[in-house]
């Protein structure tokens, strides 16, 4: 059986693919599904209302306490989620794969050194990195506040023009960076490097690679034309699973106050106090159920897709799974 046929022979894979496609379509057609962008929408005409409103024609899944529509947050949040998940995964995938392949290809000391660095990074908890980068970000922000008219608020920071000159060129690009994305990009590539390293190691002595080497192919060509395409399957599986896992982790972090808010996490946060209401928890279900379900489905969909890819690309593992 071919890869595609094997992939479509399990209902779980269909489900995974359907969920992921649903989110992709939701992200693409967000302007059609909900004309108001959750980020720019203004609270409703009734600012005195501070209670989540039940589903109505204007807000199809009800509103949050600040009168923003849950439906809008859900739809537009899928854009942010996909952008974050796919973007960060692409970075770690490229970097990790490259490190793992280069280490395995050159072997010996290079391999030992690169893999040691990889293992070293494994000892650093990601939450500490998020806190740390957020701190760096805050410190830069304070430096900006100094320069503007808000100065005096943090006046214990020195006002030296020379320092501002050194920071300025770095400033604009750094402010655009998301601390969570930065932390993930720095600390999520190791599994790719390890997987790729093992995969290339087992492939390095195979005939087709040796043949390519003997026929005088350049190292660059051997790596990119022969080794990577043949050894990439496990890393691809990892990437599919990571897209969902990274978004779930990001939302969790921003729910507990670390990193920038996303539409999903800010919707969950603003509805947090309404989950347990005096009238029972089902009273204001729309403040947390839709977003929570979307988040779980996002993680599950990509996870199923990853599992399906394992089965499809490596028939032997069907037995153990």
């Amino acid at each position: 059986m071919g890869i595609t046929r094997r992939f479509f022979s399990h209902w779980q894979n269909w489900l995974g693919l359907a969920i992921v496609l649903a989110f992709v379509l939701m992200a693409i057609f967000a302007p059609l599904l909900s004309p108001t962008d959750a980020e720019t929408q203004t609270p409703n005409a009734q600012p005195y209302l501070k209670i989540p409103q039940p589903p109505s024609p204007e807000a199809r899944l009800g509103t949050l306490p600040d009168q923003t529509s849950v439906f809008d947050s859900l739809i537009w949040g899928s854009r942010d989620a996909l952008r974050f998940g796919v973007g960060v995964t692409a970075i770690v995938f490229l970097f990790g794969t490259l490190i793992g392949t280069i280490a395995a290809f050159f072997g010996g000391r290079v391999n030992t050194l690169l893999m040691w660095v990889t293992d070293s990074f494994l000892a650093f908890p990601i939450i500490a990195a998020v806190v740390f980068f957020q701190q760096v970000y805050n410190n830069l922000l304070v430096a900006l506040l100094e320069q503007t008219e808000f100065a005096g608020y943090y006046s214990y920071v020195l006002r030296t023009p020379a320092i501002m000159e050194t920071i300025k060129p770095l400033f604009t690009p750094l402010m655009k960076l998301n601390p969570t994305a930065l932390a993930f990009a720095l600390l999520m590539w190791m599994s790719y490097a390890r997987v790729m390293n093992a995969s290339v190691m087992s492939m390095k002595q195979m005939e087709f690679v040796l043949a390519a080497k003997v026929s005088g192919a350049k190292k660059f060509r051997v790596i990119f034309r022969h080794l990577i395409p043949n050894a990439i399957a496990p890393a691809l599986v990892l990437a599919a699973k990571d897209v969902g896992a990274l978004v779930v982790l990001q939302t969790t972090f921003s729910f507990i106050g670390l990193g920038h808010p996303t539409p999903w996490s800010s919707a969950l946060l603003s509805g947090k106090d309404w989950i347990f209401s005096p009238k029972g928890i089902v009273m204001y279900w729309w403040v947390f159920v839709p977003i929570t379900v979307a988040l779980i489905l996002f993680g599950v969909g990509w996870n199923l897709l990853g599992d399906g890819l394992i089965d499809a690309m490596n028939p032997r593992t069907v037995e153990t799974n």
Binding site: Q134, Q135, V142, A143, Y156, I163, L170, F255
Partner: protein, 360 residues
Amino acid sequence: MISANNSMIILRRLFFSILRSVLTLILITAILYASLMVTPAETRASLYMPKKTSPRMTEEMYAKMLQDMIDKYQLDRPFPVQYLSWAGNLIKGNWGYSPNLQEDVLTGLTHRAPATLELTFYAIIIYFPLGLLSGVVAGNRKKGVADRLFRTTAFVATSLTPMILAIIMMVVFYITLRWFAPGRLGTAFSPLIEAESFNSYTGFITIDGLLNKNPALTLDALRHLAMPALTLAFAQWAILGRITRATVIEENQKEYIIAGRARGLHEWTLAWRYALGNAAGPVLTHTILSAASLMTSVFVVEIIFSYPGLSTVGVKSLALIPDAPSAMGFAIYSTLLVLILTSLLDFLKAVVDPRLREES
């Protein structure tokens, strides 16, 4: 049994594992310090600040002090110079003063470490045996009822993020049943551990309560530990169980198991002594590699259940006033904990797995 020669090999392994940890720590702190170099020199100067001498110190005086620090530690010099002098201070125990915690960073961290360790300890006690048990049972009855049940539960456990699990737990055990509560101690008991008559032997309130002959305190601490520990254990159990299951299935296909079965060894012996014994290596390796993500989960759960552990330092460092020393201290301290855990597990692996002793 472990002979003298073998114990030498294990000790050598331990030594190299510690050496590797130290090198790792140097690499990570160097990267952290390098990232801090993009911020103005005042931020780095705050890493050396001692406790504010007087509460009446004006902001001008503080600014003057910062300027003195920049001059003293040459914070405009190149990276290696700055890093070395900072690392030297770190070893001396000067981790800076945190304006948000209102105390020295190192003291703040060491105060809170026992709470985190207690939570981690109870979570491990719950999930480690259960994970191994369900992994072996599911692996031996592949595609059976137990296996299907395990796989479904594990899938649910890994899909539910801690925050969703926390909401469910709070509704069931805190609001409805009133069994457990968030936080670390109830209001009736928290003054008790601050009292002079209370001797803190271990820092674990559950154990200290018994040692101080106050079982009610232990019970209250357990009541508060239950929700975070269970939340943590649930997800970790699923991960560990899956790894164990996969390794056991792999081991079961090997020839020594078939040979054992042919000789008439009991299935029980085969599963629990031979398959699990040989699966212990891969399982421990996986635990070593994911020690840092265990730490992350511990912190996430702590924050969700407002459990006052190490994560408080990290969260408070982000409150209002920029506070580089405590963010830095939090990062280094948690890395240190991960490295200690990793070394211990590595040692355990050498003791458990005879093959590793022979190799080197």
